[in-house]
Symmetry: C2
């Protein structure tokens, strides 16, 4: 089995450091990818530090992977060496359950996530994109549009699809009023994508510090959530709230900003579950919902949409040696808006 | 102004007792109704006892009103003396807001509820159906199908529409798996209506004591929520859960019983808001929603549906003198499944 250079950790309390991992030999349906860039998702921190209690080590994180195809298996016709491709949060699924059949592999009963997950054999731990090469079944390889630069495209594989999918599912388009709660890695993508879908976009953020940035990204309005007047003024205003904030909030207050039949969609999990009053739901038939990344078909659709509208992430490119520092900065929300690792620094 | 006999209270701490109230003179668009029966809703207890902190006295409760037309105003063409009619939770609305225009007067910005509410003049307190007569604008008068007996039809005006509306809105029909959580006044109507809509109906109730009754009402399955195996067995099973229970529950546990894209709809407000974990929403794109009675058009549709399918409430008919005792029994869930007051006992 080919050994490749990677950066990962042997345990929850240890910083990330160089290590070597094995990638499988190319099988008939596989695509081998030379990784160029990998985005840094907050999930990488949760998982390397075992904050969700299900971490397996050694662990190489990273699920916002872009690069170029170096080789393909004999049954692969859609990709060839040199193609610009991406790998997101999933590298396989059961392919048999209702969710897989519906093209919603993210909800599969036995998904194979890109790292901290077993292959379908139930015993081989898969490893993520903080590494130089990866081998993935062709069905989970995405095509990156030619006009997008690879480094800025990397975060589309998680932050992009995580916001695109609920925007589409809840029918964002002209005439719709969409709020984006939180302007971080997910939020800034939601603004760009929702704006390109021609909805009216309002950014709800703690203070007005980011007002210029939000407008540059495509927001029509920006309101501060530390100002109680925001909640009065925007009462019953929105069709949809994309909630990218995973800290504990008074969800009832935000639900009151929705029109009748409006939905607030949660993308993050607060570690301490908020109390939810029923009245804001009942009094205007509102919904509180959740959404998780997206299926492979929809991820390709999102990438094509981004190509067409020339949308990518705002990033800060870092060498792999800065990864531990980057984690600390993410925890302080000190990044505009996504760290991306230049994998050339790992070679 | 005509004085009529009624039963109501002068304050939160006082039992209901006889009193007289004024009804307005018949206006051109009004329908005068001789009340035959009035259902007893848990809301009547909350409101007479000021449990929601917004009660105004004197208060005559009751919003499940049926009777016969005795007179109509000069502009009323759809109703005539002798017609069997009903009045539900609303007697007027602003008629100008988006919700009114959409026929969803229950969400109107200035609704006039049947009691504990001001008329559109902003100063005349309206009074409910524990009384011998009522005068209501023709637009808020419902027609009761001839084949339904009036006493059993009374609870349709609140319990019926409160369950019919979400069943319809969330597209109950053949092939859909619907759970009804709680088998009381609302729950027993949800079972009858959902069964008539040809969905597979599962009753979720604390113990299996009511199993025979639930099946007689139309349930296909009955499971006890005090048995942990229920939650394992029914994981990812339902398209829709109609939650009629207004005590604090672990909503996350119930959400796990929904399939991908399923919804749990709350009809009651727990006084102590439950904590809601985000994961059950996110991991299968589920929704937690709420629903409130229904609009006038949909209430008539529900009554016609009940006429067609010969559906009404299971009731216990009581004289008005038993009303305080009935309230105590409701608080102990000791009623199958709705008390209805025989208003003849008040005349």
């Amino acid at each position: 089995m080919p050994q490749v250079n990677a950066y990962g950790t042997q345990g929850a309390a240890q910083p990330l450091a160089p290590l070597q991992i094995a990638r499988r030999e190319l099988e008939v349906n596989d695509v081998a990818v030379d990784i160029a860039f990998c985005g840094v998702c907050h999930t990488d921190i949760h998982q390397t530090r075992n904050e969700w209690g299900n971490s397996m080590y050694p662990m190489v994180p990273g699920h916002e992977i872009v690069g170029k195809v170096t080789a393909v298996g004999s049954k692969v016709k859609r990709f060839k060496a040199g193609d610009k491709v991406g790998v997101g949060c999933l590298v396989d699924s059961c392919r048999e359950c209702e969710d897989c059949k519906d093209g919603l592999e993210q909800f599969c009963c036995k998904p194979v996530f890109t790292y901290n997950s077993f292959e379908k054999d139930g015993k081989t731990l898969v490893q993520g994109g903080y590494s130089t090469k990866i081998v993935v079944h062709q069905d989970f390889i995405l095509r990156i549009p030619d006009n997008l630069s690879l480094d800025k495209a990397a975060p589309l594989l998680c932050a992009g699809i995580t916001t695109y999918s609920p925007l589409r599912h809840w029918k964002t388009g002209p005439g719709k009023r969409v709020a984006v709660l939180g302007l971080g890695g997910l939020g800034h993508m939601a603004v760009k994508l929702g704006h390109a879908m021609k909805a009216e976009i309002t950014v709800l953020t703690r203070t007005l510090n980011k007002i210029d940035d939000a407008k540059r990204l495509g927001a029509d309005h920006v309101y501060a959530t530390n100002d109680p007047k925001t909640f009065e003024k925007l009462s019953r205003y929105f069709d949809l709230i994309i909630n990218t904030v995973s800290v504990k909030l008074d969800w009832g207050k935000y639900l009151e900003m929705l029109k009748r039949d409006g939905s607030m969609v949660l993308l993050g999990v607060p570690s301490d579950a908020p109390q939810l009053p029923a009245s804001p739901l009942i009094m205007a038939r509102r919904s509180l919902a959740g959404s998780l990344i997206g299926g492979i078909k929809e991820t390709q659709e999102m990438l094509d949409f981004c190509g067409k509208h020339n949308i990518a992430s705002d990033i800060e490119l870092i060498p792999i040696t800065k990864i531990n520092e980057a984690y600390e900065r993410i925890l302080k929300s000190d990044v505009k808006y996504r760290f991306v690792i230049d994998i050339a620094t790992l070679k």
